[in-house]
C-alpha cells in the first residue's frame, strides 16, 4: 500500500505526467462532449469510436494532400459528421436499432480506413507546440494545459460552446426534453427525431475533431489501430459523469491519467504490468458503474427509439 502511495506521489510530482495525461484526456474530452449532447437527446451512441477513427484518417488525408493542419482538422470534423449521418439517418429516420447500427459502423469504418490507409499511405507529422505565455509557467499543470500543440486549445472552445448550447439555448432545451420525455416534446411541437439526429451530428463533429487532434496533435502517423477504444472510454466517461458535462470532463481527466501511466511509469523506473494498465479504464468504469449506476438518474428515454404513437 505504501508502495502504491509513493508511486502515485512520484507521478503526481512529475511535469511530464500531467502533459501526457492532458493529451490522453483531451482526445476523450473532444469525443465525450459531443457524445454527451447525443446522450442527453436520448441516443447511446456507440459509433463514436468510428467517428474518431474516420476523423483521424480524414485528417491524415487532408494534411497529406495540402500540408495544412487546419485543413486536416477540418477534414476530420467533416468525416466525423459523415459517420454521424449514417448513424443518425439509420437509427432516427429508418428506425433501425441504434446499437446495431453503431456496431456495424465501428466495423465498417475500421475496414474502410484500414483498406484505404494501406492503399494510400498518408504521410503526416504532428502540429507544432504553441506555448501560451505566462499561463505555461504555472507549476506542474502549466505545460500540460498551456504548452501543447495548437489544436489542443480548441477544447477550450468546444466544451463551453456545447455547454452553452445545451443549457442556455432553445435548441438545448429541446434536446434535453427529447431525451427525457419524447412524447411530451412531440406534443409540444418538437420534431423529436430531428433533434436527435442533430445531436448525433454534433457528436460526429466533435468526435471527428478529436480524431483529427489525435492524429495531428499527438500521434503524428496514421494507423488503423490509432483509436484503440478511446471512443468507448469517452462514452463511458459521459455515463461515469452522471450525464453532466462537468462530470464527463472529470471522467475524461481520470481515464486520461490512467492511460498516461503506461507512458509515465517506465520513465520513473517502475516495473509495470502492461495488461493490467491497459485494462484499467475498463475495470475502473465497471467498478464505478457497479457502485453508482443505480443511484445516478439517466435521461429517461436514453436508448429508447421514438416512433410517434408507439411507446
Amino acid at each position: 500500500m505504501g508502495g502504491l502511495i509513493s508511486v502515485v506521489w512520484d507521478v503526481a510530482s512529475t511535469d511530464s505526467a500531467y502533459t501526457a495525461a492532458a493529451r490522453f484526456a483531451v482526445v476523450l474530452a473532444f469525443a465525450a462532449t459531443g457524445e454527451w449532447v447525443a446522450e442527453r437527446a436520448g441516443t447511446l451512441n456507440i459509433s463514436v469510436e468510428a467517428m474518431i477513427l474516420a476523423g483521424a484518417f480524414a485528417a491524415a488525408m487532408g494534411y497529406h494532400t495540402t500540408g495544412s493542419v487546419a485543413v486536416g482538422l477540418a477534414c476530420g470534423t467533416v468525416a466525423g459528421a459523415m459517420v454521424a449521418s449514417v448513424q443518425a439517418e439509420m437509427s432516427h429516420r429508418l428506425t433501425a436499432d441504434q446499437f446495431v447500427v453503431g456496431l456495424t459502423l465501428n466495423i465498417l469504418v475500421l475496414g474502410v480506413v484500414g483498406f484505404l490507409g494501406s492503399e494510400w499511405e498518408p504521410s503526416t507529422r504532428t502540429a507544432s507546440v504553441v506555448e501560451i505565455p505566462l499561463l505555461v509557467d504555472v507549476p506542474l499543470v502549466g505545460p500540460a494545459l498551456f504548452g501543447q500543440p495548437w489544436p489542443f486549445y480548441l477544447i477550450y472552445l468546444v466544451v463551453p460552446l456545447c455547454a452553452w448550447l445545451v443549457h442556455r439555448t432553445r435548441w438545448g432545451l429541446e434536446v434535453r426534453s427529447v431525451g427525457e420525455n419524447p412524447q411530451a416534446a412531440d406534443v409540444s411541437g418538437i420534431d423529436v427525431n430531428r433533434r436527435r439526429r442533430q445531436s448525433i451530428y454534433l457528436g460526429g463533429l466533435t468526435a471527428g475533431l478529436g480524431g483529427g487532434y489525435l492524429l495531428l496533435g499527438q500521434v503524428g502517423r496514421f494507423d488503423p489501430g490509432i483509436v484503440a477504444g478511446r471512443g468507448f472510454i469517452a462514452l463511458v466517461a459521459v455515463i461515469f459523469g452522471g450525464w453532466t458535462l462537468r462530470g464527463a470532463i472529470f471522467g475524461c481527466l481520470l481515464f486520461g491519467s490512467v492511460l498516461s501511466f503506461r507512458l509515465t511509469l517506465p520513465g520513473l523506473g517502475y516495473e509495470l504490468n502492461n495488461e493490467m494498465l491497459s485494462s484499467l479504464p475498463a475495470l475502473v468504469t465497471i467498478v464505478a458503474m457497479a457502485l453508482f449506476a443505480h443511484a445516478v438518474r439517466q435521461p429517461e428515454a436514453l436508448a429508447r427509439p421514438f416512433i410517434r404513437g408507439l411507446k
Binding site: 432553445r170 434535453r176 427525457e180 420525455n181 416534446a185 409540444s188 411541437g189 411507446k311
Partner: protein
C-alpha cells in the same frame, strides 16, 4: 370566427363551429372521436379530408407549432410535461425564437397572478402533485395568448372542488378576454354547469347540438349513447342508490375477507410516500370501489397486486394467508387476477399471438415436459375466442392487430378463466366504446356473483357508484373514508377525494 370540418374518416364528416367568447362543450363517450377531432385541430393528427377555417380563412394545420401560430392551444390529458425540467422550462418548450430565462419566468409570474394559478417557476415538475402539473400545462398554453383553448378531460386529475376553481378561471378567460374554450368531456354535469353550447358526438359523428340553456341531462345522455339505456349519469345513479341493497347474491357473506391490506406503506425511490398506512379488506362476492383522484395511489395498489412493486412495510393477505408479492408470480398463484389500467404496459404482449397471450396464466398446463403442446393450445384459445366473442383472425393473430376492445376481452378471458379468488379491475372501461363498456360491467357483476371478490379501481365516480357494494376513498396514498354504497353520495365522496377526513 368559425371552424369547419368536412369529411374525415376517423371523425366522419364532422362539422363544428366554435364562436368567440364561448365555452363550447364537446360531449361523447370514450371512443366517440372527440380526442381525434381535437388532435386534428392542433396538428397532431392530419385529417384525410375536410378543411378548417379560422376567422373565416381556410388553414392547414400540419403540426402543433402551426396550430399555436393560429392561436390554438391545447391542455392535454397526459404526456405533455417533461418531469425532469423546471416549470419555466416546460412553459418555454415548444416556443420559437431566442430562449430568455428571465422573460419566461416573468411571464409565468404575471400569468399566474392574472388567472390566480399560483406556481413556483423554478420547481421541478417531477416534484409537483398532479393538480399543479395541470396548472403548468394551462400556463404553458395561456402564455401563447391563444384565441382557442382546448381542454381534454381536464377534471379527471382534479377533485370536485379543484374542478370548480378551474371552471371559474375558465369563465374569466372567456368573458373578460374574449377567448374561446373547447371543453372535451364525457361528464354530463360539467357540460350542464359550465358550457354555453354543446356538440355531442357518437361513433365519429356529430349527433346533436344544443344551446346548454335549452338542454337537460336526459337529452344529452340519450344523444350521447344513442338510445334510452340505464346510464351512468349523476341523476340516474343517484336515483338508484340501493340497487345492490336487496341483491343477496352480492352481499358479503359471513366468511372472512378474501383480500386484506394491513398497514401497507410504499415509498418512492426518492423517499416520498406513495401509500401511507393503507388498510382495507375485501370480502368474497363483493365489489369494493376504490375511489380517488387519479395519481393518489391507485396505480401503486394495482402494481402491488400485480407483483410489480413491493411494499416497504405492511402485509397483504389473500384468504388470510400472507403473500410475498415481491416474488415473481406470487400474487397470481395466490389467486389474484388483474385487469390492468394500461393493458399495453402490463396486461398483454403486443408482439405475441392471442393464443400465447391467453396461455400466460396457465403456462405449464399447455406444455408437456417443457414442450408447448401447440394443438391443445390452439383448441383452448379458439374456445376462449368464441366464448368471449373476441374478434380476430384466429388464435395465431398477433395481439397488436386487434382493436382495443378486443385486446381488453383477451385480458378479461385470461383473468376470469384463471379461477381467481380476487379480481382487480383498474379503470376497466377506459378507452372502450359504449357496447364494450356494457359488456365489461356485466361481466364484472357476473364474476362477483360467482363469489369472487372484486376490487374496482376507478377514477370515474359514476362507475363506482353504479357497480360497487362498498366504497373506499383514498387521497395521497391514505384512506380518507369508507362507506357502504347506500350511505354514499357524490358530495361526500368528493370531499373525501379532496383529502377531508370523515
Amino acid at each position: 370566427m368559425s371552424k369547419r370540418f368536412g369529411a374525415v374518416s376517423a371523425c366522419d364528416a364532422v362539422d363544428i363551429e366554435i364562436h368567440r367568447g364561448e365555452i363550447h362543450g364537446i360531449l361523447g363517450e370514450n371512443g366517440a372521436g372527440k380526442s381525434t377531432l381535437m388532435k386534428m385541430l392542433i396538428g397532431l393528427v392530419v385529417p384525410d379530408s375536410g378543411s378548417i377555417f379560422v376567422d373565416g380563412a381556410s388553414v392547414r394545420i400540419a403540426d402543433p407549432v402551426a396550430a399555436a401560430s393560429l392561436g390554438i392551444g391545447m391542455v392535454h390529458q397526459h404526456f405533455s410535461l417533461v418531469e425532469a425540467l423546471t416549470v419555466w422550462e416546460n412553459v418555454a418548450l415548444g416556443d420559437s425564437g431566442r430562449l430568455s430565462q428571465t422573460g419566461v419566468r416573468n411571464a409565468v409570474g404575471e400569468l399566474s397572478e392574472r388567472y390566480g394559478l399560483r406556481i413556483d417557476p423554478d420547481a421541478r415538475v417531477a416534484d409537483l402533485p398532479v393538480g399543479l402539473r395541470q396548472r403548468v400545462e394551462i400556463l404553458k398554453c395561456l402564455r401563447r395568448e391563444p384565441d382557442i383553448l382546448i381542454f381534454d378531460e381536464p377534471t379527471s386529475v382534479l377533485t370536485p372542488e379543484e374542478s370548480e376553481d378551474l371552471f371559474h378561471s375558465l369563465r374569466g378567460v372567456v368573458e373578460q378576454e374574449g377567448r374561446s374554450v373547447a371543453l372535451v368531456s364525457h361528464k354530463l354535469t360539467e357540460m350542464l354547469e359550465v358550457t354555453d353550447r354543446v356538440t355531442i358526438m357518437r361513433n365519429g359523428l356529430v349527433v346533436d347540438r344544443y344551446m346548454t340553456a335549452d338542454a337537460d341531462a336526459g337529452m344529452l345522455a340519450r344523444a350521447m349513447v344513442g338510445r334510452d339505456v340505464r346510464l351512468r349519469s349523476t341523476e340516474v345513479s343517484e336515483a338508484i342508490p340501493d340497487m345492490h341493497a336487496g341483491d343477496d347474491g352480492a352481499t358479503p357473506g359471513v366468511d372472512g375477507p378474501v383480500l386484506e391490506f394491513r398497514k401497507i406503506e410504499v415509498r418512492e425511490p426518492g423517499g416520498s410516500m406513495e401509500l401511507d398506512d393503507l388498510t382495507f379488506s375485501l370480502k368474497p362476492g363483493e365489489i369494493l370501489g376504490l375511489a380517488g383522484v387519479e395519481g393518489n395511489g391507485q396505480r401503486v395498489i394495482a402494481d402491488l397486486l400485480s407483483g410489480l412493486r413491493r411494499p416497504s412495510s405492511g402485509e397483504i393477505l389473500v384468504d388470510g394467508v400472507e403473500v410475498d408479492v415481491s416474488q415473481a408470480g406470487a400474487a397470481l398463484r395466490a389467486g389474484i387476477a388483474v385487469i390492468p389500467e394500461d393493458r399495453h404496459d402490463s396486461g398483454i404482449v403486443l408482439e405475441m399471438s392471442v393464443a400465447e397471450n391467453l396461455m400466460l396464466s396457465d403456462q405449464s398446463g399447455m406444455a408437456t415436459r417443457g414442450i408447448i403442446n401447440g394443438a391443445a393450445l390452439a383448441v383452448a384459445a379458439s374456445d376462449l375466442i368464441d366464448r368471449f366473442s373476441i374478434m380476430c383472425t384466429g388464435p395465431d393473430a398477433l395481439m397488436w392487430t386487434l382493436s382495443g376492445g378486443n385486446q381488453q376481452r383477451v385480458v378479461l378471458a385470461r383473468e376470469i378463466t384463471a379461477d381467481p379468488a380476487v379480481l382487480v379491475a383498474a379503470q376497466p372501461t377506459r378507452g372502450l366504446d359504449v357496447g364494450a363498456i356494457e359488456y365489461m360491467t356485466d361481466q364484472l357483476r357476473r364474476v362477483a356473483r360467482s363469489g369472487v371478490g372484486i376490487l374496482l379501481i376507478s377514477s370515474e365516480l359514476d362507475e363506482i357508484l353504479e357497480l360497487a357494494d362498498r366504497i373506499v376513498v383514498i387521497f395521497m396514498g391514505q384512506v380518507t373514508g369508507e362507506m357502504a354504497r347506500s350511505e354514499a353520495n357524490r358530495e361526500k365522496i368528493g370531499r373525501l377525494m379532496g383529502g377531508d377526513l370523515l
